[in-house]
């Protein structure tokens, strides 16, 4: 036990968690913490808006596999974080957000910059808590990192009233934390793996659908090994892109509303569908009643509450994807199956690919977006990192920009947050300064968070933003063209800023 201020305990607790980078915007209710950060080894990357700070922490987490950390002051600082917190949480990204709060003595009085961020963020986080005493801070910090990064990863918010930062108390730093009722178990039940193997061994038309859970569990090696053993085509969700190299012969592309024809047809015609670390959202399944109608679905997921939530399964394996896929592989390779009979099924992959390839349109004189995606891919090394914004740019990137490894392609999948890609790219660059980072953007999305250009420059986190500039909110305009009789309204962006002229200093440039 040692006496120190809450702010001092907070920074020490961050250091004990190994936090090197914190993304944030300062303000009145976090001044004591900022004062402690002065001179500490924790790098404070200053965003220009709190939403950007949360997305930077999110991008950092996705690129590094570590917990991303962001901080904001009370009131508007805290509410500005919420979109970023919800974006990370729905995509199961480990993120810890710290918010300043007005002193406990005035909580509930509508004090200056007071909001009930615990109430506001309750449904957008995996867990949230407000500290009531300085001595609670080390346990709260440790708990937040533990909850964010175990079981199904997610976002945790810790609210820190200003007086708990200022006051001093005897504190101790726990080595581990315990929560009654929260004991995530990564180990799959062997019987569940046996049942999965029984189904897979009889499959004539197996398909594997891989999601972000494969990335989170670092299980892409196990996934590819199993696919090759089964000779099963692999489709991914947006979150799973990269778990199998795009140029692997078994890769069928993205599945869903903007999936490839081959992926959607193979899923539709499969007899056994092995879904790993994916939650089968509406964008992936399309109309649920017609989703993979003839297949037996095996669902592998760390989160038991996902099983049978959207799609009824025949069997499930609850646990860590790496352990589950490894266990299934070991059992299946011991069976020495002859998969040569799968040639007919694999030929379907090629057939559907030919049948459903969208026609290549000539330039008019604009470049076509798929062509831009391929040119960008050719200009980058295989291990470059790419983020996307949301809308047409995102779907062109998902379809036509190849990814060759997990944790190289990042997108806001669940929440579909426009403006995510640019700050997320800055966070990814902070995590991996050794790799080039590109944000594949649209003009609409980029306008939402372009203010963070200043952060790139002053923090020396250079990223390349490729703006697919069509001067409209493209995806909405596409729906208006296709489904609303071309009645375009509220999509014209013809008066956006000149992106090439957006130059915060001499160390950034436009082309």
């Amino acid at each position: 036990m040692v006496e120190m201020s809450g702010a001092e305990a907070f920074v020490k607790a961050l250091e004990l968690e190994g936090v090197e980078t914190l993304f944030g915007v300062t303000g009145g209710a976090v001044l004591p913490i900022c004062d402690e950060l002065y001179g500490s080894d924790v790098r404070f990357v200053m965003a220009r808006h709190e939403q950007g700070a949360a997305h930077m922490a999110d991008g950092y987490a996705r690129a590094s596999g570590r917990v991303g950390v962001c901080m904001a002051t009370s009131g508007p600082g805290a509410t500005n974080l919420v979109t970023g917190i919800a974006t990370a949480n729905i995509d199961s990204v480990p993120l810890v957000a710290f918010t300043g709060q007005v002193p406990l003595s005035v909580v509930g009085t509508d004090a200056f910059q007071e909001v009930d961020i615990i109430g506001i963020s309750a449904s957008a986080t995996k867990y949230n808590m407000q500290v009531r005493r300085p001595s609670e801070i080390p346990y709260a910090v440790k708990s937040a990192f533990h909850i964010a990064s175990t079981g199904r990863h997610g976002a945790v918010l810790v609210d820190l009233p200003k007086d708990t930062q200022i006051d001093s108390e005897e504190v101790e730093f726990p080595e581990k934390v315990n929560f009654r009722g929260y004991n995530p178990n990564p180990f799959p039940d062997p019987r569940e793996m046996d049942w999965a193997v029984t189904l897979l061994s009889k499959a004539r038309r197996p398909v594997i659908m891989a999601g972000g859970g494969v990335v989170a569990a670092d299980a892409s090696g196990e996934l590819v090994r199993l696919a090759e053993l089964l000779m099963a085509p692999v489709t991914t969700t947006l979150m799973g892109k990269g778990v199998i190299p795009s140029d692997h012969p078994l890769f069928a592309g993205l599945c869903g509303m903007h999936g490839t024809g081959e992926a959607n047809m193979l899923v539709s015609e499969s007899d056994v569908l092995l879904v790993v670390g994916a939650r089968m959202s509406d964008r992936t399944t399309a109309r649920l009643e017609e989703f993979s109608p003839g297949s037996k679905v095996i669902h592998v997921d760390i989160d038991k509450s996902e099983i049978d939530k959207n799609v009824e399964t025949v069997t499930r394996v609850v646990g860590d994807a790496k352990l589950a896929l490894g266990g299934i592989f070991d059992r299946m390779s011991a069976m020495r199956l002859d998969r040569q009979t799968n040639g007919v099924w694999l030929k379907k992959l090629q057939e559907f690919r030919r049948q459903y390839a969208p026609p290549e349109l000539p330039g008019n004189p604009h470049m076509r977006a798929p062509e831009v995606m391929r040119a960008l891919r050719r200009a980058l090394p295989r291990d470059a990192l790419a983020t996307t914004e949301v809308g047409q740019n995102q779907m062109w990137a998902a379809l036509y920009f190849d990814a060759y490894a997990p944790r190289t392609f990042f997108s806001s999948g669940g929440l579909g947050t426009m403006g995510w890609g640019f700050p997320a790219a800055i966070g990814a660059k902070a995590a991996r300064p050794d790799l080039p980072v590109v944000d594949i953007a649209g003009d609409g999305s980029f306008c939402m968070t372009e203010n963070n250009l200043a952060t790139c420059v002053e923090e020396e986190l250079p990223v390349v933003v490729v703006v697919l500039n069509n001067r409209v909110l493209g995806m909405v305009a596409q729906w208006q063209r296709l489904f609303y009789g071309r009645r375009h309204i509220a999509v014209d962006l013809g008066n956006s800023p000149d992106f090439v002229g957006l130059r915060p200093s001499k160390t950034s440039r436009g082309q």
Binding site: C255, G256, M257, H258, G259, T260, G261, N264, M265, V267, S268, A286, R287, E289, E290, F291, S292, Y356, P358, P359, L361, N364, H366, M367, R368, A369, V372, A375, L376, A379, L380, A384, Q392, M395, W396, P436, L453, P462, V464, V465, V466, V467, L468, N469, N470, R471, V472, G474, M475, A477, Q478, R481, L482, F499, V500, T507, S508, R509, G510, Q511
Partner: protein, 40 residues
Amino acid sequence: MKDAVDAEVTTVIDVSIDPEENVFPMVPPGKGLRNILVEA
């Protein structure tokens, strides 16, 4: 693009595309996965 990547400087590249260009393939909202549009 290659130049921008190699330069290690924050760069915004403005690529003009057709405002009428659609993303395909697409399954229309409310339809099953087999209903794949590849052109308008």
